[in-house]
Amino acid sequence: MNAPPDESLALYVHWPFCVSKCPYCDFNSHVRAHIDEPAWRDALLADLAAEHQVTGPRRVHSIFFGGGTPSLMAPATVGAILSAAARLWSVDEGCEITLEANPSSVEAARFAGFAAAGVNRVSLGLQALDDAALKVLGRPHDVATGLAALDVAQAHFPRVSFDLIYDRPGHTVAAWEAELTRALAFGTEHLSLYQLTIEAGTRFAVEHAAGRLRTPDAETSADLFDLTQAMTEAAGLPAYETSNHGLPSRHNLSYWTYADYVGVGPGAHGRRGGVATVRHRKPENWLAAMAAGDGIVETQALPPATRATEALLMGLRLTEGIDRAVFAQRTGVALADAVDGAAVARLADLGLIEDDAAGLRLTRAGRPLVNAVLREIA
């Protein structure tokens, strides 16, 4: 059973280029000396058109420019993509249009242009409010530059969010408390607060394996997580997802509620009509494939059981949990059939999960344990 065609779509556009590669990042990002922007723009437009061929006429409720660093795009490129999307699909009035941005002065200078092109939400990669930490994270900006960019963003966009990475090497509860207190005072509607994860294939993974990079121990890490929950709740920006706080991003909610999304650009993933799509990861390969007619490297019809597991592992990250009716509609599997009932009952007894007529959700105690819970019930 596929999602009904009258449900609206989320649209993801991947811009794979960065000025430099951060040592913790395992996203599909690449550093290139020269970028022929018109060629990439045309390819992205062609990719959108190709997706439209598959989805047909649908409403679009959110558009997200991710990367890489999409704030390195010319505002005109962003504008061209948004115009194309509006021509191809029926873009909702008030559609959430987010662009990820680096907080450098060069990029801040383009914010007015992005706003004029139609971007109404920006997600700023501040990452830390500590110069030494920014250095460790390999970020090219310092705190002062980052906060200046935040000012510019708040002046131009109605909705602003920023990212911080915590649980960093040497991070203490006291330092994070001070840093988060400061972050909450900027008055943004949304915050993404990620614990540092050592991802395979990154420079951090190498340093970590060699013992040169030491992350806080499990107890400190848990303390930091708990502190984050308490402080954001007190500030009126409680977690609605594992690492996301405040007024939810409509776009990201699409992922977590397993709604249909279209992904274009190098390495972008999509889920639409029960089909998973993967595009060529290396930018040049994707570009060449687009020239030959199609950037897709893999298309796979997902069986209901796979869709159910995916929906489960995304949905339990949300504070509100999984809605029984939406789950069944989007996966073709009843929620009760997608989980090990005995395990759910056992975890409910431990106070980690709630299972009722509305759906399934983790408790405050269960949320930091979502992976372990999934191992038990999925």
Binding site: S221, T242, N252, V370, N371, R375, A378
Partner: protein, 597 residues
């Protein structure tokens, strides 16, 4: 045509591991022309991969050498105490022995045990001081040691270097001159000893024999007197070391026969072989069936390998009737086998062969010894598995096997070694000094030795201590069954029988180990050691606090799903007890007591 008695010399070689026994044997073979240099591979006699690696002989081997008109039969005996009975039969087939001692290392405990056995058989013993060309060689000191410790004359000792070929001729001459020829009566009814046997994929079971009286020939119908079975001899021969078929073996000769026998279990070492039609009236003395003394459970890591394990054990038993196995089931480990062994080395060898030759992943439970229980109802029973321990209220008394251990240790490690023996409930019987080394004799309960005594001994002495033991019977002991409970459920594979005084320390150690080995769960887990219903040690594994992927967007959900699938697969490979997943490494590591006590 058989060799005349006065031209035969039967001898064995006694040596500690690494003192050069196999190299010497190889040189003797080479010198007498048994193999060309091209055919010589290092250590011809140790056939099995494990034998070569460990430098020990598991099965007796024999080789016939021709030297200056004489027939010399070299018997290579199993070099380890676990195979003491096989050693004694091999020695019984000879009239003399070469005592090989490393000119730098001197006499070791294991050498001592075998040389005493050889003396008991009234053997002529020729000392061979080997490796005399090493810079550290002290042949005169070693000679003195042999006279002092062993008490045999070194007047005819030969100085040799098997590696360089030095003194080989002198060794051969000494064998002819000093070792007495065998006695026997060619006209008497056949009487031969079954020295050893092994399974050969082409020949079936090959039986190594020493003829005492009469002769063994092809086509003869023979009887195994103890076993009471009859067989038709279809091959007679000897090893040079290549097989050479003969018409017959006469008195005093050592060789082999085959008789279409399928399993070595049908051939008991020490049995008397006679002619069915014209049998001897008196069997050879000293026959006994060997009993396993150390038991443990072997379980396949992958439950699907159970049948493969059964087949593999069956195949190994074709060649080694001295270990036993029967099916066992454990809630933790599933289906496996309770296996009995002659000793710890024997256990390790079988376990290693299963892993290596049969490609099996195994979990080995704690080794246990055989306890004798006297029950209140007057009956008695033998206990091979702690899991089978009856209700303590029905037990009148428990007896455990004891050993007498002889240990050689350099002076500087003596103190730590005495402490180890005391900690293991040892009773000191003797303490003497020879040169810079102490020889200590202790009586020890075998169950204290099967754990990790040997590893501890080696680590305390930096590898310099040597150790040998023999069993001295059962004695009453204050023994209790200790169980380990995880989340209030007994983990059967971790049950053990311990002395009451040691129970608390060992229980605490086991709980600490399990606490480190069991990953945190979503709930806190008590780990307890108990005797009967009484908890004697306890640790708690705290509940997991955080296990979360920070960043998870639409991007690549399939990658997250693969990760989850992989983790669930890993979870399946763990054993569940009271909702607690115990990784298999935990069982293995917990039972390897390491630095316990």
């Amino acid at each position: 045509m058989t060799a005349p008695l006065d031209k035969i010399r039967n001898f064995s070689i006694i040596a500690h591991i690494d003192h050069g026994k196999s190299t010497l044997a190889d040189r003797l073979i080479q010198h007498t022309g048994g193999l060309t240099a091209r055919e010589m591979s290092e250590q011809v006699l140790d056939n099995m991969e494990i034998e070569r690696e460990r430098g020990i002989t598991i099965k007796a081997q024999t080789v016939r050498l021709d030297y200056k008109g004489h027939v010399l039969n070299l018997m290579d005996t199993p070099g380890h105490v676990d195979f003491a009975y096989e050693v004694s039969r091999s020695l019984a087939a000879c009239e003399g022995a070469l005592l090989v001692v490393d000119a730098a290392q001197g006499v070791e405990a294991q050498t001592l045990a075998n040389v005493y056995q050889s003396i008991e058989h009234d053997h002529e013993i020729i000392p061979v001081i080997n490796k005399v060309d090493l810079p550290a060689a002290e042949p005169e000191r070693v000679k003195q040691q042999i006279e002092d410790i062993i008490g045999i004359s070194t007047e005819h000792a030969v100085l040799a270097s098997a590696k360089s070929g030095l003194g080989i001729e002198a060794v051969l001459d000494a064998i002819v001159a000093l070792i007495p020829p065998p006695k026997g009566d060619a006209t008497a009814p056949l009487k031969a000893m079954l020295v050893d046997s092994w399974y050969d994929p082409y020949l079936g079971v090959v039986i190594l024999v020493r003829v005492i009286d009469g002769s063994l020939r092809k086509g003869q119908e023979i009887t195994f007197m103890a076993q009471g079975t009859k067989h038709l001899v279809d091959r007679v021969g000897c090893f040079r070391p290549k097989i050479e078929q003969l018409d017959a073996l006469g008195p005093g000769e050592i060789g082999f026969i085959t008789a279409q026998i399928k399993e070595v279990a049908q051939t008991n070492v020490g049995d008397t072989i006679t002619d069915t039609k014209k049998p001897t009236t008196t069997a050879l003395p000293g026959f006994k069936t060997v009993q396993p003394v150390v038991f443990c459970g072997l379980f396949p890591t992958d439950a699907a390998d159970f049948e493969k394990l059964r087949d593999s054990l069956g195949k190994l038993r074709l060649n080694d009737a001295s270990f036993s196995f029967e099916t066992e089931s454990s809630a933790a480990l599933g289906f496996g086998f309770r296996c009995g062994f002659l000793g710890l080395l024997h256990l390790e060898i079988i376990q290693e062969r299963l892993t290596r030759e049969y490609d099996l992943d195994l979990i080995t439970t704690a080794p246990s010894v055989v306890y004798k229980l006297l029950l209140r109802d007057g009956t008695s029973k033998e206990l091979h598995n702690p899991a089978d321990m009856p209700d303590p209220s029905t037990i009148e008394l428990i007896e455990e096997p004891w050993i007498e251990a002889t240990i050689f240790v350099p002076d500087e490690y003596l103190g730590s070694l005495l402490k180890l023996c005391q900690d293991r409930r040892g009773i000191q019987k003797n303490l003497t000094y020879v040169g810079g080394r102490a020889q200590i004799v202790y009586e020890l309960p075998l169950n204290e030795v099967v754990f990790d005594f040997y590893d501890r001994l080696k680590s305390i002495s930096r590898g310099y201590a040597s150790f040998d033991y023999h069993q001295i019977g059962h004695r009453e002991g204050d023994l209790v069954k200790m169980t380990i409970m995880v989340n209030s459920e007994v983990v059967d594979a971790l049950s053990m029988i311990v002395h009451r005084d040691a129970a608390e320390a060992r229980g605490r150690h086991m709980c600490e180990r399990m606490k480190d080995l069991i990953p945190r769960h979503l709930f806190k887990i008590p780990v307890q050691a108990a005797i009967g219903g009484k908890v004697i040690a306890r640790e708690t594994i705290a509940a997991m606090r955080k296990d979360v992927t920070a960043k998870c967007y639409g991007g690549d959900i399939s990658r997250k799903k693969k990760l989850l699938d992989k983790q669930k697969e890993g979870k399946k490979r763990m054993r569940q007890y009271g909702n607690v997943d115990i990784p298999q490494e935990a069982f293995i590591a917990a039972l390897r007591m390491g630095d316990a006590n």
